[in-house]
Every structure is written in C-alpha cells, then in structure tokens.
C-alpha cells in the first residue's frame, strides 16, 4: 500500500498544473452548439500543440507516453483547473483504445495523429432507432463491393453525440445478412463526407444541438475502414464499451472537482444549522472520494496486468448515479435560483443523461449480476 506519487509523477503534476493555469480558457459557449464546438476545437488544438491532448499516447502520435497514473494525475489537474469538456472524447477515449488494441499499424498511423490533432473528429454510431440498449439488434448493413474493394453501408444511426459537428463516425454494421444478434457484425470507421451519408442534428434535453441522426445509403468505404476483422465487430465493440463505461471516459478528477465546488457552495450558502442539507453534501463528497479510491485500486490491478472486464459496469453505475445525486444536492442548495440557466443547472441536465448513455444502468445491473456475481442469464 502506497498512496503517494513518485517525484517524477509529482513533477508531471506540477508541469500540468502550471500549463493549465496559464492556458485554460473560461466562458466558452456549450461544446454541443456549432459556435461552442468551434471554440472547444480551438482549445483542443492548443492542448495538442502543447502535447497535453493525449498524454497517455506514444510520442509519435502526439502523446507523452504517460503512464496510466500520470494520465489520472492529468485528469485530476484538468478538472481542478475548470478546463472545458473534451469535445474529442469519443475519439480519444473510446475509439483510440480500440484502435491501439485491434488496428493495423497502417490504421494507427493514418488515424491516430489526425485524431490527436483535432483534425478528424469522431462520433459514435452505436444506437439505431430499433437498437438502443439492445445493441445486438443492429440492422444497419454493409454489402460487399468486390469491384471497388470495400463495402456499401446502408442504415440509420441515432443519438449520435455531436454528430452534426464531427467529421467521422465509428459504428457497427451487419456484414453477414444471414447472421443474427452478436454474430456477423463488423466495426467500421466512416468519414461523414462520404457520398450517401446524411447527418441531421437535433436538440437534446438542454436545447443544444448535441444529438444527430446519421443516414447511410449505399455509402462506399474501402476495406481499411474495417477495424478488427470482418464479422468480428461485437468483440471489438465490447472493448470500446468497456472504455466507455469504465475509467477512460469518466476519471475521478471531474467528480472530485465537482464535489469540491459543491462543498464550496454549501459553505457559501451556510449549511451549519441545516443537518439534512449538510449530510447530503457530505454524502456527495464521500461518493466522489469513494470513486477515486475504487479507481486507484482498479488502476493498481490494471498496472499489474489484470483486465477490468465486466467490472467497468460498476464504475459506470457509480459515477453516473453519484453525478445525479451531487447535482441534485447543489440545486437544492440553490433553491428557487436552481431553475436559472447556469453551471449547476447545466451540469444537472448533463448528469441526467449518465444513467442512460453508454448502456442504461438497468443493462449495467444485469451485467454486474450475470458477469460479476455469476447469476444465470435465463
């Protein structure tokens, strides 16, 4: 047991903190609007130029070869500094780990540097109108085009976050028309300017155009758009969902920083005489700490070579529900002012999506019960 960081790691923290303090922009418009997305992109490029965009990646792709511990440190500092949301997150945190695991060297060289630099912006094409929690019900299909050496994609994807602002999409398509459920699916990476692709953005609960639906009609992509092999898409996709549910998408840093802001709000509002309110603030603070400790334990296991597997569903359940509780507590402290547009009300609306995206929490509970506790499926 050693809960201290090495001198090198502390030096890394100091360097990150100093750079962030100098450079973090404040007051950007929402990254889920066209205007705000452009502002966030500017920030992403600044991060990239200073090599803070993808710290854990190899240097050749724009990273710093940072260890997973240093990555956690960077995340802590990032959110402590109040830095903007990462509009590149679906690429750098979800697709990239999958490319590192399943991509060919040529794919890695072609895709990763442009992703790191914020030149290619990736969105996720999982859900379809008839396939939400039931991802294996995917109907979008890919038909072989031998002549041109590739595939023709047809179907509809939806709830595609920031799809209207992105340049590329990764998603699952059925390559074996005879197949059912998890078999016969393939993981494709599709430029959204491909002829036959139409993107329509629409408003989310918070009013921002953060969602899109993506229509594909005979859209041709070459063979190297396939990640991890034809008909193997399910296992490749599961690697991404593991990242999405687990650590890489939601590191403890953001919740620790939100909890600190909540404690600050409670001090300002004065809860000393209100034991109920005080208790809820403390619970939220404890939750954020507990998520941090769970993560430190998990990263210790990962650093020792263990796979997180279905346990990433525990992360997802915990962070998504703590985020809602934390924000609801903040709104209660604000009282009548909670209805006003502001960081807490926006944070609350954002938190409400957590138990839904990345696999609803009902699905996560099934996964925990079946794959962690070992209960029978049927």
């Amino acid at each position: 047991m050693d809960l201290t960081y090495t001198e090198e790691e502390e030096a890394f923290r100091a360097q990150a903190r100093a750079w962030l303090a100098e450079n973090v922009p404040h007051g950007l418009a929402s990254g889920d609007t066209a205007e705000g997305f452009a502002q966030h992109l500017e920030w992403e490029r600044k991060l990239y130029e200073a090599r803070w965009a993808v710290v854990s990646w190899p240097q050749e792709y724009g990273g710093r070869d940072a260890s997973i511990w240093e990555w956690l440190i960077f995340e802590e500092e990032y959110y402590r500094a109040g830095a903007p949301m990462r509009v590149t997150q679906n690429g750098i945190f979800l697709l990239a780990p999958t490319i590192f695991e399943f991509g060919t060297r040529a794919q890695q060289d072609r895709i990763l540097p442009r992703m790191a630099a914020g030149l290619d912006l990736w969105c996720q094409g999982w859900s379809e109108p008839g396939a939400g929690s039931d991802l294996a019900a995917t109907k979008a299909r890919a038909v072989r085009d031998e002549e041109r050496g590739g595939w023709r994609l047809t179907g509809q994807k939806t709830w595609t976050t920031r799809g209207a602002f992105c340049t590329h999409m990764f998603g699952l398509f059925r390559t074996d028309p005879e197949s059912e459920r998890h078999r016969g699916l393939t993981y494709f990476m599709v430029p959204l300017d491909t002829p036959g692709v139409t993107v329509r953005g629409f408003g989310r609960l918070d009013g921002d155009e953060g969602f899109a639906e993506v229509f594909l009609e005979d859209a041709f992509v070459p063979d190297d758009a396939v990640l991890g092999g034809v008909d193997r898409g399910w296992s490749v996709a599961m690697a991404t969902t593991g990242s999405e549910r687990g650590l890489t998408l939601r590191s403890p840093g953001r919740f620790l920083s939100a909890a600190e802001r909540l404690v600050e709000l409670a001090r300002e509002r004065g809860v000393a005489g209100d034991t109920l309110a005080r208790d809820r603030v403390v619970r939220a603070w404890i939750d954020a700490e507990a998520y941090q400790l769970f993560t430190l334990q998990q990263v210790t296991e990962i650093a020792a070579g263990a796979a997180t597997g279905a346990r990433s569903s525990l992360n997802k359940l915990f962070w998504s529900e703590l985020d809602v509780r934390l924000h609801r507590t903040a709104l209660d402290l604000l009282g009548p002012e909670a209805e006003l547009d502001g960081p807490w009300s926006r944070g609350f609306l954002f938190a409400l999506a957590g138990p839904i995206y990345a696999g609803t929490n009902e699905i996560q509970r099934n996964i925990v019960a079946e794959r962690v506790l070992g209960l029978p499926r049927k």
Partner: protein
C-alpha cells in the same frame, strides 16, 4: 502509488481466512452465544488460542513489547476475515483497540502479557454509552468516552461534564472523564439481538476502575482503531451475506426457474455489490492514513465507517429479502451475520455520526460542534 495489500499482508490475511474457514463455521458462531443450548465456550476460546498462536491477537503490539508490530493496513485485512466468519469474540476491541493502547501505557505489562498469551479478552465501549459488547465473556473492560471532542483528563477547559458525554470521573479526583479499566464483574449482563455480542451495562457515573494514564492523542488513536476495525468487520460480514444470497438465488426455484434469473432479484444484488465494492477501498485507505499519521486520518476513518455501515445495512437487508422466509428463521445461518451487522453498523459511531465528523472536517459545521 499502489492501492493494494503487500504480498505479505495478503498472505497473512489468507492465513486468517483459512484458519477461520476451518475453525469458525456457523456452528462455531452459534457456540459463541452464551446461554443458548448450543453454547460451547471452550470451542470458541480454542479459536482464540489458534488466532493467538498465529500472532493475530498481538498483531498491533510493537515487536519490542512482544507483538508482531504490524501496521493498520495489515490488520484491517485480518479483521475483515474475522467479520467474514462472524467470529463471536471481541477481536477488534482486544487486538486492535486495547492491545496497542495498553502496550503504550505504563503499568499494564501484566495485562499485555496475558493478552499476548491469549488469556485476556477485552470488552470495550469508548463511546461513552457504558454499554459494553462482549462484557459477559471478557476478562477486562475498557470503558469511557474517547470520541473526538470528548472531554479528557488533562484538558481542564473541557473538565465540565456536558450532556451526552458519558465519561467517567477520574478516580484520583482529577478533572475530565477519561477511560478506565474495569473488572467484568461490574457489568450487568443485558440481553441483545446478537447473542454472540453478550453485552453488559456498566454505570459510568461513578464507582471503581483503574484510570488509564494516557494522553488524549493515544485515546484518540484507540478510538480511530475501534471505528476502523469495526468498519473492516462490516465489510467482511457483508461479503458473507452477499455470497450466501448469490448462492441461494441460484438454488431456489420458483415459477419453474432459479429466482436469480429474475431482473428484480439481479438488480437488488447488483446494488448490494456496488455498495460493498465502493466501501471496501475506503477501509484500506483509512488504514493507510492512520499508519502514515495523516492529518486527514480521522476524516478518512469516518468515511470508511460511514460507507461500511451503510453498505452492510444494505447488503444485510438485500440478503434477507432475496432469501425470503427461510432467512427469517433462527435455524438458517443468515441471522448470525445480519445481527452482527445491525449492531456493528451503529457501534463506534453510526453512519450519520461519522458524516457529521466529516462535515466538521470540511468546514460545514459551526466551529467545534459535532452535530
């Protein structure tokens, strides 16, 4: 950074688990209910002897005083195992609270020696309540008020007794309400839900007892060890309760299928695991903070106990619910573990009280107030 037991600590923990798996099955827990037909004090004391031989009883006593001199990180693992087996003896109170406290206090060499020899069980209540778990099976009692903020000898400004401070006037007429050692004969046995805890009530307002000549800091550490040890036990108890529930729902069939196939049952159990998995690391972190003398040790210990108390209550309720009526019997073993949870979650400060401590540490209370 490495958030895990060392291999030595893990090995020690495994050894305790193996020993208790063999020697402390539910039948042995029942043997630890004094006055019941199945009571068998000799069997229970023999488990204690084996734990003593393994060094567990003296684990927290410095090597120069004859113990193993292990740190809290090593010890919480063992206490979690004691919880897992529902060991019907005051292991937290004896090995983790009293042993190091007596060893650092002059004039108690004989007691330490007896304790290290496995001949001294200590019942302890440092919460000022005078209600001492295991008093009727213990050989020595440690009572008083060692909670943070409680008045202690040598702190004259706190010498005036306050409502709720269940302290005990010093026998030597000094000021404050310190912690004293008492003969178990001074306790009156009282019936309790968990028979194994065999508590006794002592009158804190006066009477005999040997004041413990230690400073407030030593008492404070003893308090934190009691809270932390109790949190570790709750984690262990929860692990058993959850395992019993997971096994049972796969065996029990209704409507033609195992009830563990139902999503309602699955989700209850997933929630129980979630609570447990996020409480356990807090216990280990608090142990580390104590070992390091961290300025946040008290806050971290409080967090561990708050999470462990809540998780254990949730796991116990879930385990009972998914079992159905079978667990609402004394023939079935589940109650042996659940009853320990219901007592332990409140002993050494319940979750609300611990969170109030954290509120104070976060600057959310009026200065100095705990409530």
């Amino acid at each position: 950074m490495r958030f895990a037991l060392t291999s030595d600590q893990a090995a020690l923990r495994e050894a305790v688990r193996d020993l208790l798996r063999a020697e402390c099955p539910p039948a042995a827990v029942r043997a630890g209910w004094p006055g019941e037909p199945e009571a068998d004090p000799a069997r229970v004391r023999s488990i204690w002897s084996q734990l003593t031989e393994m060094g567990v009883v003296g684990a927290a006593v410095p090597e120069e005083a004859g113990g193993l001199g292990l740190d809290a990180c090593a010890i919480v693992g063992m206490l979690e195992e004691a919880g897992r087996a529902a060991l019907p003896l005051p292991i937290v109170e004896t090995a983790f609270v009293a042993a190091p406290l007596l060893a650092e206090t002059s004039g108690h060499g004989d007691s330490v020696e007896r304790l290290l020899g496995g001949d001294l069980l200590v019942g302890a209540a440092l919460d000022g309540s005078g209600l001492v778990p295991y008093a009727t099976v213990a050989d020595l009692l440690l009572v008083g008020d060692a909670r943070p903020g409680a008045a202690q000898p040598g702190e004259p400004e706190d010498g005036e007794r306050r409502a709720g401070d269940g302290g005990r006037p010093r026998r030597d007429g000094g000021e404050g309400f310190g912690v004293v050692l008492l003969d178990p004969g001074e306790a009156t046995a009282v019936a309790a839900v968990d028979g194994a805890r065999a508590p006794g009530r002592v009158d804190l307002a006066g009477g005999d007892g040997t004041p413990l000549d230690v400073d407030a800091a030593a008492l404070g550490r003893a308090w934190e060890r009691g809270v932390l040890g109790s949190a570790a036990q709750l984690v262990g108890l929860s692990r058993t309760l959850l395992a019993m529930a997971v096994d049972y729902v796969q065996e029990r069939r209704q409507f033609g299928v195992a009830i563990g196939t139902f999503q309602a049952v699955k989700h209850h159990l997933a929630n129980a695991l979630l609570a447990l998995e996020f409480a356990a690391p807090a216990v280990l972190r608090a142990a580390w903070s104590l070992d390091e003398g961290s300025p946040h040790a008290g806050r971290d210990v409080a967090m561990a106990k708050a999470l462990a108390s809540d998780a254990a209550e949730q796991v116990a309720a879930t385990a009972l619910q998914v079992h159905g009526a079978i667990a609402y019997t004394v023939e079935y073993d589940l109650h042996l573990f659940a009853k320990r949870v219901w007592a332990g979650s409140r002993a050494w400060g319940d979750a609300d009280w611990q969170r109030a401590r954290i509120a104070a540490a976060l600057g959310l209370t009026r200065e100095g107030a705990l409530r």
